[in-house]
């Protein structure tokens, strides 16, 4: 068992046969219902014109970003990023505000819309199977994939493998590894023969969105303090003006009403 520094997935869309065994495996491993599975498969159907037909399928689950937007957005800090890759969600802290669902550019977190106050409505998302990877096994979806469309390993090695595979078959693949730099890099790497946009993956800049928002957030406390200072100054100025004009009699009246 080799010690993995940075867990990652590699998904090869050309190898996926749309069997959905990964969904079943995930559902069994993590004991969740099939209609709420943490992994889901989207098919493009048959595209192109005869005789150049092709199919595209895409397996989605949490991208385990290097700079997760959900973690940045959560007001109570229910998300955390493990140093070895996975982004983990802690239901003990969650207040159910669903802000992470808005923040995630991939639309990954799912919410229990059908649970009342007694059962408790929580967010659910891929956990990277910590119960398996911590003992050196592959995550359930990878272990079950019959065509090795999903692979698991060290992020650096998988990146190298992806680039090698693209270079070996340039006519088959698009010359890009999705997730290498998208949103600051993700732990779920994708190579494909159809445009990533068609697979439902958003086009994202290399700078994660949360870096922009966090810069703005840093300014709130200075802004609030300076605005308070401005209002205090205005208040003091008006008071001084009133005093000058009326000899201080008006100001006392206003003060007495507080």
């Amino acid at each position: 068992m080799t010690k993995i520094k940075h867990h990652a997935y590699l998904f090869d869309a050309t190898r996926c046969i749309d069997c959905r065994a990964c969904m079943v495996a995930c559902s069994v491993e993590n004991n969740i219902e099939m209609d709420k599975t943490r992994i889901w498969v989207a098919g493009l159907g048959v595209t192109g014109e005869y005789p150049n037909l092709q199919r595209g399928t895409m397996v989605y689950h949490c991208m385990h970003c290097e700079h997760p937007d959900c973690m940045s957005a959560c007001p109570v800090g229910a998300y955390s990023k493990r140093p070895d890759g996975p982004v983990v969600y802690n239901p003990e802290k969650c207040i159910g505000c669903r802000y992470c669902m808005n923040a995630c550019p991939f639309g990954v977190p799912h919410f229990d819309y059908d649970k009342g106050i007694i059962e408790g409505a929580f967010i659910d998302k891929c956990t990277f199977c910590p119960q398996r990877i911590d003992v050196g096994e592959e995550p359930a979806c990878v272990a079950t994939c019959p065509t090795d469309a999903l692979e698991y390993g060290e992020r650096e090695e998988l990146l190298k493998k992806a680039h090698e595979r693209i270079a070996a078959h340039p006519e088959r693949y698009i010359q890009h590894v999705y997730g290498e730099f998208e949103n600051g890099g993700t732990s779920y790497l994708i190579i494909s023969h159809v445009p990533f946009k068609d697979l439902g993956l958003p086009e994202l800049p290399e700078t994660p969105i949360n870096e922009v928002s966090e810069k703005v957030m840093e300014m709130t406390i200075p802004f609030a303090l300076s605005w308070g200072a401005v209002l205090t100054a205005v208040s003091a100025g008006v008071a001084a003006y009133d005093k000058k004009k009326n000899g201080g009699s008006e100001e006392k009246k206003v003060e007495s009403h507080k």
């Binding site: 229910a78 159910g96 669903r98 949360n210």
Partner: protein
């Protein structure tokens, strides 16, 4: 003998309060359904649209109602225009009710309404929503005073 059909004074209510009471009754039923069967039972929120109409309506209406109270307080206490003094108390009360409306809407909207105070103990300073939560809490405190 002519029957005296007039109600005693305390039972006489106008049409408008009756309508409001009816609306309240419906709202209580809906709120009960939400707490018993989940948010999905009373709304059409989905994974793609996790925040719906009631966030935009309830919260923003409440906040907008309250802004008037803050402006009035600013006019009286900071700019010291004493002509507005009589309007101060009703407007601050309206603002307080507006923020109460925000919190009540949040209690319905949050998946874990009992944990609404968690924002005080688990703080995540990079979150925009955290700042909003702190604002709502501090404004409510200010208005209650």
């Amino acid at each position: 003998m002519k029957l005296n059909l007039t109600l005693p004074k305390f039972l006489r209510i106008g049409t408008l309060p009756l309508v409001l009471i009816l609306l309240m009754a419906i709202a209580f039923v809906v709120a009960f359904m939400r707490y018993a069967f989940g948010i999905g039972a009373i709304s059409d929120l989905s994974y793609s649209y996790p925040w719906g109409f009631w966030i935009s309506f309830d919260l923003f209406t409440g906040v907008v109602i309250s802004s008037g109270g803050f402006l009035m307080a600013g006019t009286v206490y900071i700019l010291r225009i004493k002509e507005f003094q009589p309007l101060l108390r009703p407007s601050v009360l309206t603002a307080f009710l507006g923020y109460i409306m925000v919190v009540v809407a949040l209690l319905v909207d949050l998946g874990q309404p009992l944990r609404i105070w968690y924002m005080i103990i688990y703080q995540n300073h990079t979150s925009v929503l955290f700042e909003i939560g702190i604002c709502v809490m501090s404004y409510l405190t200010v208005l209650a005073i």
